[in-house]
Symmetry: C2
Subunit: 152 residues, 2 copies
């Protein structure tokens, strides 16, 4: 059974990541949750989101940072093992939503923006759709991600 999103005790009004999970809510543990982003161009795209409204990575205590990167790595390993992508991309920007969240996504040399970051210039149209090229159903990938972060 999937967790339900609960706003943080010190939620910031108007913050999209205080008011909603930020994607399909897969798992939560302590100060972190894991969601999958619904993006047809980049289907293997997860986020590790802080359950508290903090802005910068270094605002956290060392054990919280370590747990965060352990979760990021656990997701990365599932994506590498299951999808054999060209590259994993990791990023924490927060320029638009300054509530700490890490992007963890699989990139392929055939995807619409490769080798640019997904925030860069589109390089090509992709047919058939990216999701159909993964070789695994997203629901199955989600279950593997949930098992990996729960064990991390």
């Amino acid at each position: 059974m999937r967790p339900e999103f609960k706003p943080p005790a010190a939620a910031v009004a108007g913050c999209p990541l205080c008011e909603a999970a930020g994607g399909a809510f897969l798992w939560t543990g302590g100060p972190w949750r894991v969601v999958r982003v619904d993006d047809a161009s980049f289907p293997a795209y997860y986020r590790v989101v802080s359950n508290h409204h903090v802005t910068e990575f270094s605002d956290l205590l060392a054990p919280e940072r370590q747990q965060c990167m352990d979760l990021v790595c656990a997701i990365e390993r599932v994506l590498l093992d299951q999808l054999r992508p060209t590259k994993i991309n990791l990023a924490a920007f927060g320029n638009m939503v300054p509530h700490l969240h890490w992007h963890v996504l699989a990139r392929f040399d055939w995807d619409s923006h490769f080798p640019q970051p997904i925030w860069g210039a589109k390089q090509r149209d992709v047919q058939p759709a990216a999701t159909s090229r993964l070789g695994i159903e997203l629901a199955e990938l989600d279950e593997l991600v949930i098992a990996a972060v729960a064990a991390a």
Copy 2:
């Protein structure tokens, strides 16, 4: 005295980060080095680069990952404390250069691409030049970064 760049023992021919430091070489310790990227639009821009040719963050052992993020955080704290930026951006892509390196840079609401990632669409021209707006000389910022990563 600044360190000199030494290629890794198992350098990969043609890899720009095996063949050169990847920026102004500031510090090295164990499997990591810290450089400053020379970018007039984003002057407060550092990289934590692996001294070994590894591709993905999860290819590393846990202590190496932790050291990496400790260095990333040490740089981030210097940028936050010295520059009061709008946001810090962290990223590890490697789509073009698949030799592990982390981007750590200060973003300002007035910079040429904010709130887009620096790899996204330019938003505005910036005059006077970004470097002159930091309120600190880059050489001084470099020294503070070196002291912080050496102590991390």
